[in-house]
Each structure stands twice: as C-alpha cells, then as structure tokens.
C-alpha cells in the first residue's frame, strides 16, 4: 500500500521532469516553476502544521531569510548561486532553531501568533537595514534560462518531498510527531521529548523553505521585503494546506495546485483587484475550516479509506 503510494508520487515527479520538453512557452514554464515553488512552500508548512499541530503563521520569514541571504552573498560577496542558496537554507534553519526554542514551549495558538509577530518584525528589520537595500529591495545578477530554474526548483522541491515522505511516512519520526500533535503529555510518558521533536520539525520545515527562497531570489532577479517577507507568502501556504488537507503530504500538493491555478487565473484577469484576492483567501480559509475539516483530500471517497488504513 505504502509502496504503491510512493510509486504514484514518483510517477507524478517523472511526469513533471518532462514538462520543459513539452512546454516551450516561456511564460507557461514560468507558471509551472511557480506552481512547483508553491507545492514546496505548502508541503514545508504542513510538516509543522499537519504533522506536529503547530501553525507557523510566519512561514514567510524563512522564505525571506533564504532569499535575502542568497541575494546578499551573491551581490555583496560575489558568491556562486549554489553555496549561497545552501547557506540561505542553513540560515533559515538556524532562525527556526533560535525562534523555536522559546516559542515552541508556548501553547499551539500562541506559537502561531508568535511566529506571525516574528515574521512581521523581521520584515520591519529588513526594511530598515542598508545591506538589504531597505524598501528598495535588491537586484540579483540575471540568468535568463527558464528551463534551468524550472529544474532547480523541481529538484529542490522534489528532494524535499521525498525526504519528507521517508521521514514522516516511513521512519519513526513521523509517528513520533503525530504523537506529540495528539497529546503532548501522553507522548512524554512514552519517552518522547516533545520540545526536541517540535524544534526538529520546525528546522526540517525551515531549511527547504530557505533554499526555495534562495532559488526564488535568483530566478526573479529582484526581491523586496513585500515580495519575500510579506504576509501573502504565509497566508497562501496556509490556505493551500488547509484547503488541500492537513497532516498528509498529498493534501498540500493538491491544495497548492488548486489554489495556485486559481491565483494565476485571477491575476491574469483581475490584477487590479489585489484586495479582492485577500478577501477570497480569507473566505476560503474560514469556509474550509467550517465545511471541509479534512480539506479537499477528505472528500475524495477512495482516499478517505486509504487514510483510515494508514493513519
């Protein structure tokens, strides 16, 4: 059962590898690249939200840290892209470690607001600093190769997805996280250290998010606090996960694809109504919680049986 699911994932991944061979339109490839990016951001969000039960409303902080570290190293220190992005991921992980230590001891809901406040604080800090270019943002060396960025993004997100699949669905780690999610005190009696597990999950979520941020920075060649650290990054990741189905790896992927498609269509026709998008996002989040407690994944009948089998 589990192996078949892995082969399903691998099949989808293989199909995605072929996309640049079929799609030659630059704009379309750009859209696919961004779709892959959002899959990555949704899946990394879900490690903490779905598996551990802690909502990180400041997911954008790690994305932004990765983007800015990569940009600063490339622009100000002349680094090559790959080590810069890797360090961006490491910096995001370190950020999670430092931020997680006191805040993960808070009750779930307070953690959510604490991370949200952290992201806002970091955004403000970046706005005020010189090295980041403040509100003017930073321009990175341009590399005009849409195929390259599609593969880099897919590589990073793919490695992340399969590493998560192994750690969360196969290795003991995933079950231990779920135990903490379900009952922290009960988990402690069974020899699990909840704080340690939560911090591990937080770092595991932050590192790839930072790397994705780095790829994003190099790809779009221009970053500013709003595009990398703004609320929208966290808000969209949240809506994708809640809408798709929390606590699974497939749910966030489905949610990311659906919401991203909607977003793309919306921006194509209604780009003047940015605020309307915010209202719709909010509405989808609130309505999903009330009417789709298990997300879209929960209404797919044959999947539900699989979940019972497995979860």
């Amino acid at each position: 059962m589990k192996d078949r699911r892995l082969s399903g994932h691998l099949l989808v991944f293989a199909a995605m590898l072929l996309i640049p061979a079929v799609v030659h339109d630059t704009f379309l490839l750009r859209v696919f690249t961004e779709a892959v990016m959002w899959i990555g951001l949704a899946v990394t969000f879900d490690v903490l939200a779905g598996y551990t039960g802690y909502l990180n409303f400041g997911h954008s902080a790690f994305f932004g840290i990765g983007a800015y570290i990569t940009a600063i190293l490339m622009v100000r220190a002349g680094w090559h892209f790959a080590p810069a992005a890797a360090l961006g991921g490491a910096a995001a992980g370190l950020g999670a470690l430092i931020a997680g230590f006191p805040t993960l001891r808070l009750r779930g809901a307070y953690f959510a607001i604490a991370t949200w406040a952290l992201a806002r604080a970091i955004q403000q800090g970046v706005l005020m600093m010189d090295i980041t270019g403040g509100p003017d943002g930073m321009r990175l060396p341009a590399l005009l190769s849409p195929g390259f960025f599609y593969y880099i993004m897919l590589g990073v997100v793919g490695v992340t997805f399969f590493a998560y699949w192994f750690l969360l669905e196969r290795a003991p780690f995933g079950l231990k996280l779920k135990a903490v999610r379900e009952d922290e005190q009960g988990a402690e009696a069974l020899g699990l250290n909840p704080t340690k597990l939560k911090i591990q999950a937080f770092v595991l979520s932050a590192v790839p998010t930072g790397i994705i941020g780095g790829v994003f920075a190099y790809w779009v060649t221009f970053i500013d606090p709003a595009s990398t650290l703004g609320d929208l990054v966290s808000d969209q990741a949240l809506v994708m996960v809640v809408f798709g189905g929390m606590g699974t790896l497939t749910g966030p992927v489905i949610g990311a694809v659906l919401i991203f498609t909607f977003k793309t269509v919306f921006w194509a026709y209604l780009s003047d109504y940015e605020v309307l998008y915010l209202i719709i996002l909010g509405g989808v989040i609130a309505a999903s919680v009330v009417f789709l407690p298990d997300g879209v994944l929960g209404v797919l009948p044959q999947r539900r049986k699989g979940v019972e089998d497995h979860a």
Partner: protein, 294 residues
C-alpha cells in the same frame, strides 16, 4: 532627558488602552478557548464605525461609544455559534482550527476594509483633541493631552464595569464558572452557548469601542489591525497566559516602549523591539513577566 517624563506619561496613558484590549481578548480565550486572531480587525472596524458615525451625526465621538458598542456586539453575537461549530468539530486540534478560522476572518475584514475605506490614515476629531494640561516642576515639564487622559478614564470605566459584571452578577458567575470548568458549569445550569455568545458579543463591542479611542488618540487606517493583534498578544503573553493581574503592568510596559520609540528612536523599529523583548522574556521566564501564567 527632559522628554523622559513625557515619554513615561504618554506611555502609561496609551498602555491603559491596551489593558482593555488584552482583558477582552483573555476573557474570550478563557470562556470559549479561542484565540481571536481578528482582534486587531475588530479594533480597526470599530474605529471606522466611530469615524463614519461621527461624520454622519456630528456628535462628539465619546458620546457615540455606546452606539458603537451596541452595533458591534450585535455583529459579534451571531458569529459565536460559527466559532463554536469550528471548535467542536471532529478535527484533531480544535484550538488551532479556531485560530485558523479567525485568521481567515481577519483577512476578509482587512480586505473589505481596504476596499471600502481606502488606504489612507485618518483620525477621529474630538472636542478633546486639542486640549492639554501642562505641568512644570523645576526643569521637568509634562504635557498631558486631554484626549489621552480620556483614554485613561475610559480604561478605568470599562475595567470597573467588567469587574462589576464578572464579580457581582449572575451572568458574571456563569462566565467564571464556564472559564473554570465547562462540564461543571453545565451541571450548575449555566447556559453554555448563550453565555459564550454574550461574552463574544461583549468582547467585540469593547474592542470596537477601544478602536474609536485609538482613532481619536493616534489614527486609524484599514491596515492598522495586525499591529493591534500583535499588541494584544504581546500583553497577554507578557502578563502570563491566563494571569489577568499581570495585564496592567505588561500593557503599561508596551505603551512606554511605544512612546520611547516615538520620541527618541525610529518608530519603525517598534515591532522589532517588541518582539525582541517578548522573545527574551519567554526565554528567561516562559510563564510571563511574573512567572504566573500557565
């Protein structure tokens, strides 16, 4: 240094407003077990409610407070059953679902406000807006603006009313019983649903009224909500979660930090400073400033 007493006095008067926000926020958490992410948006909507009500009636905004309360309490009341439904859902972690739900609401409110109220900063004119008292003692001088003083008086009045309501009425007894133990309160004949709905209505009403005062003292804009959500959260965590007696000190501290940044440093760093302070305190004492939270 001559500005130091001024910063302290300003900060304390501003802090008084935060006490009200934090108390209402804690009350809802205690009774309904929901952390309302939309608290800042209620404040924002209340501020605009007061602003337009004033534009329309031209009555002194302070006198409009009861009307704002009634209107927003009426908006909050029917929302409670929806939140209740989210919290009692079959999903594993109802607390988080409540938070996600109110987060969704807050996005909608903010989006709607930006659509209808625009992006500009406004203020609510009051006949107290320009008046001030000036105190001088040797080299030290302090100006107390009458509108800030009004805020302090407002905070005292609301605290007094809430205190009376909670400690000396049947409704208050029900609320306290509910906060202590849901099942036992039910056995005692407390109508769980109705009490929760009243508490939520009162909370929304109070937050909205407080918004009007903030609109008078500082300013209002469709984007102000998140700041006040952060502040409400800051005060509650700093006080120690569930430790109401710690709220005033935490609220004053926040007000003072804010006025210091306004007077001496760059107000753009306020949020950063607030977060660093919060982080440090949580690191040293996870149960708040007084170590008495849960």
């Amino acid at each position: 240094m001559e500005l130091l007493p001024q910063a302290l006095v300003d900060g304390i008067m501003l802090g008084a407003i935060y006490i009200i926000i934090a108390i209402a926020f804690s009350l809802v958490y205690g009774v309904m077990h929901v952390i309302d992410f939309a608290v800042g948006e209620w404040i924002m909507l209340g501020a605009f409610g007061g602003y337009y009500l004033f534009q329309w009636t031209r009555i002194e905004p302070l006198l409009l407070l009861p009307a704002v309360f009634v209107v927003f309490a009426a908006i909050g009341y029917p929302l409670q059953p929806l939140i209740h439904r989210v919290l009692s859902g079959r999903r594993g972690n109802p607390l988080l679902m409540g938070l996600v739900f109110t987060f969704g609401l807050s996005l909608m409110f903010r989006g709607l406000a930006q659509t209808f109220f625009g992006f500009y900063s406004l203020s609510i004119p009051s006949r107290f807006s320009n008046g001030s008292f000036f105190f001088q003692n040797g080299g030290l001088s302090v100006t107390i603006s009458s509108v800030r003083l009004t805020g302090l008086v407002y905070a005292l009045v609301i605290t007094g009313i809430l205190n009376y309501l909670l400690k000396h009425t049947d409704f208050g007894l029900g609320v306290r019983a509910l906060a202590q133990n849901r099942d036992a309160a039910g056995l005692m004949g407390v109508n769980n649903k109705r009490t929760s709905a009243y508490v939520y209505a009162i909370y929304v009403g109070i937050s909205a009224m407080t918004g009007v005062l903030i609109g008078m003292i500082l300013s209002l804009s469709a984007k102000m909500g998140p700041d006040y959500t952060t502040f409400a959260f800051f005060v509650v965590v700093l006080a120690g979660m569930g430790y109401l007696a710690g709220v005033p000190a935490a609220a004053f501290l926040l007000g003072i930090i804010q006025s210091f940044f306004l007077i001496y440093l760059d107000p753009g760093y306020t949020l950063l400073a607030v977060f660093v302070l919060l982080y440090t305190i949580l690191l040293v004492s996870p149960r708040g400033l007084f170590g008495k939270g849960v």
